[in-house]
């Protein structure tokens, strides 16, 4: 079963600011000077923050409204209008729905809480940056403080007029902006400032990912079975379902689900249908029954959508033919651990809790016979065979993964629209990114996600849900890419890449950026520029998280440099990352980044050592230190000079050859000098011979001419 504790009990969140730690936070205040937030100024007292241009957040005044396991709330004031605001500090690992922020902001509806300002601030409490949403505080009290056990017994006409109609109007606006609320429940509906229920206001929905803080009773069965972080984005019919449960809770005179656990409620929903489960036979007068039957349909295809509801409101009841349908029920129950089970979906729930029993049912063919004879679902029968075959093909029966994989796949076949349930995880494919982000919180074990992606569990799930509302082929392609990512261990890939690939809202979770809220490559450079001045910073300004983050945000930019960055040669790593950083700086038209430039200069030694010539090294070092300032682009231009490198290499080879030749020459001379008597003997003999021959020739000619001169009578 999914862990529902998060919905009711506040989570100990290391990354969220804790009001009790204010004193400690103030002690660490000097650090705030070097960590200015991107859009907020910190008051010297450390208790008041400026958000945007005209919102003050009072960090010494925490409030409970909107507070949940993942977010902290503080009082705030709009300096422009003087109105009170609620500042919601969002979680780092379960970030707000950034992609829907502008959509939400643009909705100006009197029955929806109004978003006044948003941005990143530096909390003085823990010296960390947070994304903050500032809502108008005109909410009044919530309908109820606690959703569980809610049974107000209000009149159906009041529920219709004051609750249903305004919320349907809000949902229409949200539909126009392609928004899903995800947190419609009595405790998130406020009474407003007027007495009674005349102007209710629907509360916050974008401070956390969809469904994360929604109690499972307000979720359709397929979403309720998922862990809070693994429900996925949700659609408007899910909002209508939540609205239906909310209306039912308000109408019913007593809590018929009292004492039941979440699992028991879900099983009851499967067996009896949500309508019967939630109302428990309560006699609801008026026409709301029809609405409730429509929106509380357990088959998503049969569930009323907004058009159906609008038509019903308009009185066109005759056009709506959808009737409640119940889940597939077996003619004969099957026994698992002594319990009689008549629904495959319930068998999946029980089987996941008792995998040995489910495996035994499969091994003794009881499961197959039950499906064949009592359910008569040939598709399910084939699915079971396929699950068995595919599991055996992927892992041996002796493998530790065998049972988890087998049971998970059987559950997928028995209840196809339920989320992927693998060991203690229950995640919808569309919610995998959010769940993975949460798993990274506090260094939890994320290896099970690696196992799920590597073993194609999501792809098997998708093949069982080919008729789903979303594009199954696109999702298969997404998870096939994820499988490739986790199969590659080099930085830039792995599970980190899946995290950013599947979760577009999550900020970069790199330990290097501890405390900084980085959502874009530009923000990354700005954060690194500030971190550079810290004494205890990392040696290199990048790690697996940063590379994976950039690969997702700027794939084309980084992919070409990834070979360099992942190279064993340290100069190539520096070269590659500088190329990426400089291109980001250039493309974003950012100003100078002296801190980051200095950081890069500190790790530039391998780049200098790329040149053999010591003079070139020194020249490059001097040029980088003196001429670049904070421009990474200039730095990269100086080091990106292949001609110089090639010439240097060529000249080094020549020098190497020269040195060896000189060595040989010197060796000859030195060997000669070992026996100095022999030096120059040959040359000496030659010189002497030549000299003597010349003298001799001269003498001979002299003798001959003198002699012949004395004997001229002979005719000479």
């Amino acid at each position: 079963m999914p862990d529902s504790a998060k919905n009711t009990e506040p989570k100990v969140d290391a990354s969220a600011p804790d009001v009790k730690s204010e004193a400690a936070g103030n002690e660490a205040a000097p650090a705030t000077t070097e960590k200015a937030a991107t859009s907020a100024a910190v008051n010297p007292a450390g208790k008041k923050l400026r958000l945007g241009k005209a919102v003050d957040v009072y960090m010494d005044k925490p409030i409970k409204r909107f507070k949940n396991a993942y977010v902290q709330c503080f009082q705030a004031k709009n300096l422009g209008t003087g109105s009170d605001l609620i500042a919601v500090f969002c979680d780092r690992y379960l970030p707000p729905r950034f992609n829907k922020l502008s959509h939400f902001e643009s909705i100006q509806h009197p029955n929806l809480v109004s978003l006044v300002e948003s941005g990143v601030v530096l909390s003085p409490l823990d010296n960390k940056e947070y994304f903050v949403l500032a809502y108008e505080d005109n909410l009044g009290a919530p309908l109820v403080e606690e959703d569980i056990g809610c049974a107000l017994g209000i009149k159906p006409e009041d529920a219709y007029t004051y609750i249903l109609l305004p919320i349907i109007e809000v949902l229409k606006d949200m539909r126009n902006k392609d928004l899903f609320h995800g947190t419609i429940r009595p405790s998130n509906i406020f009474r407003g400032t007027t007495p009674g229920l005349k102007k209710i206001i629907l509360g916050d929905c974008i401070s956390v990912p969809p469904g994360v803080v929604q109690a499972s009773i307000f979720e359709p069965i397929e979403r309720a079975l998922a862990q809070p972080t693994g429900k996925g984005p949700g659609v408007l019919v899910d909002d209508l379902y939540a609205l239906g449960v909310t209306i039912a809770f308000l109408l019913r005179p007593k809590d018929v689900l009292k004492g039941l656990s979440e699992k028991e409620i879900i099983i009851r929903k499967i067996e009896l249908g949500t309508f019967s489960t939630v109302l428990g036979g309560a006699n609801i007068k008026g026409n709301l029954v029809e609405f409730l039957r429509g929106v509380l349909q357990d088959d998503p295809k049969q569930r009323w959508d907004l058009d159906d509801v609008t038509a019903w409101i308009d009185g066109q009841r005759g056009n709506i033919t959808k009737q409640p349908t119940k889940a597939v029920k077996a003619n004969r129950p099957i026994l698992i651990d002594g319990k009689k089970i008549s629904f495959p979906a319930v068998l999946a729930i029980e089987g996941l809790e008792k995998p040995n029993e489910l495996e035994a049912l499969l091994d003794n063919r009881e499961l197959g016979q039950w499906i064949e004879r009592s359910i008569d679902d040939k598709a399910m029968q084939k699915g079971i065979e396929l699950a068995l075959k595919s599991t055996k093909r992927a892992v041996t029966s002796k493998s530790s993964m065998y049972q988890s994989k087998m049971v998970s796949r059987l559950a997928m076949v028995l209840h196809p629209i339920a989320p992927l349930r693998y060991r203690e995880f229950a995640v919808s494919p569309l919610g995998a990114g959010i769940a993975l982000g949460d798993a990274y919180h506090g260094d939890k074990d994320v290896s099970v996600y690696d196992e799920i992606i590597r073993n194609d569990e999501f792809i098997f799930w998708l093949t069982n849900n080919e008729g789903a509302a979303w594009d199954t082929n696109a999702m298969m392609s997404v998870f096939a890419s994820c499988r490739e990512f986790v199969s590659t261990t080099v930085p830039g890939y792995g599970l980190e890449r899946c995290l950013y690939y599947l979760n577009e809202n999550i900020p970069c979770l790199s330990p290097i950026l501890d405390g900084y809220y980085v959502r874009t490559p530009e923000e990354l450079l700005i954060a690194l520029d500030k971190i550079a001045a810290k004494k205890n910073r990392a040696y290199k300004p990048f790690d697996r998280h940063i590379l994976a983050f950039l690969l997702v945000k700027e794939r084309n930019l980084l992919e070409n440099s990834l070979i360099d960055i992942n190279s064993k040669a340290s100069w190539r790593q520096v070269f590659g990352i500088l190329k990426v950083f400089s291109t980001i700086q250039q493309l974003a038209g950012m100003g100078e980044l002296p801190g980051l430039a200095n950081w890069m200069l500190e790790i530039m030694e391998p780049i200098y050592k790329r040149y053999h010539n010591r003079e070139t090294r020194l020249e490059l070092k001097t040029r980088l230190h003196e001429k670049c300032g904070g421009s990474l682009e200039k730095m990269f231009k100086y080091i990106d000079n292949n001609d110089v490198v090639a010439n240097d290499s060529k000249r080094f080879k020549e020098a190497l050859r020269d040195y060896i030749m000189l060595d040989k020459e010197r060796d000859i001379y030195e060997r000669g000098l070992e026996n100095p008597g022999t030096v120059g003997v040959e040359r000496g003999h030659q010189a002497a011979a030549v000299f003597c021959v010349i003298i001799a020739v001269c003498l001979i000619l002299g003798f001959v001419s003198v002699s012949l001169g004395n004997h001229q009578y002979l005719g000479f």
């Binding site: 001379y669 003997v681 040359r683 000496g684 010189a687 002497a688 000299f691 021959v693 003798f703």
Partner: protein
Amino acid sequence: MAKKVKKVAVPKAGRKKKKSKLALQFIFIIIVFIIMSLLFLPTTFVVFFGMMPTWALFSMDGSKNKLKTVAVGAMNLAGCTYVLTDLWVTSHTLPYAISLLLKPSSMIAIYLMAMAGFVLQRVILGIVSSMMLQQARAKIKIILRRQDELKAKWGPEVTGTIPLDMDGFPLKDVPDQPAVASTPAA
């Protein structure tokens, strides 16, 4: 293979032919020399006995190409020429040749010239050896300086004594050392 053998065999035969040609030429020269020696017997007599120091040195000379003999021989021959001119001008007869050789002045002239050749050879050899020794020492100094310059410019890896990778960089980091000129071996 057969072609190869044929190819190798052809130059061998050529070399043999060349050798036999040279041998014939040598025999021919010897015969001509003997005939000439007999025809000019007085001259032969004077040269043979006058050049005795050269023949003696020739038998003991261990220098390359018998250069010592060449030096002394040239001077010795100049001394002989002093006697030979007298022989050729006065009477080219064997008795006169004998009488000339028996004259002390002739022998002194011949042997003094041979000795002068020997002394010249020794002096020139000493001068040249000394010059070359100095030159070698200077050359070693220049080489060492040039090698130090190369080391300073390209680092210790230029010496070729450090294991290098394919790009010419040391496999292990080697710190640059200040260039120190080594003294040449004495």
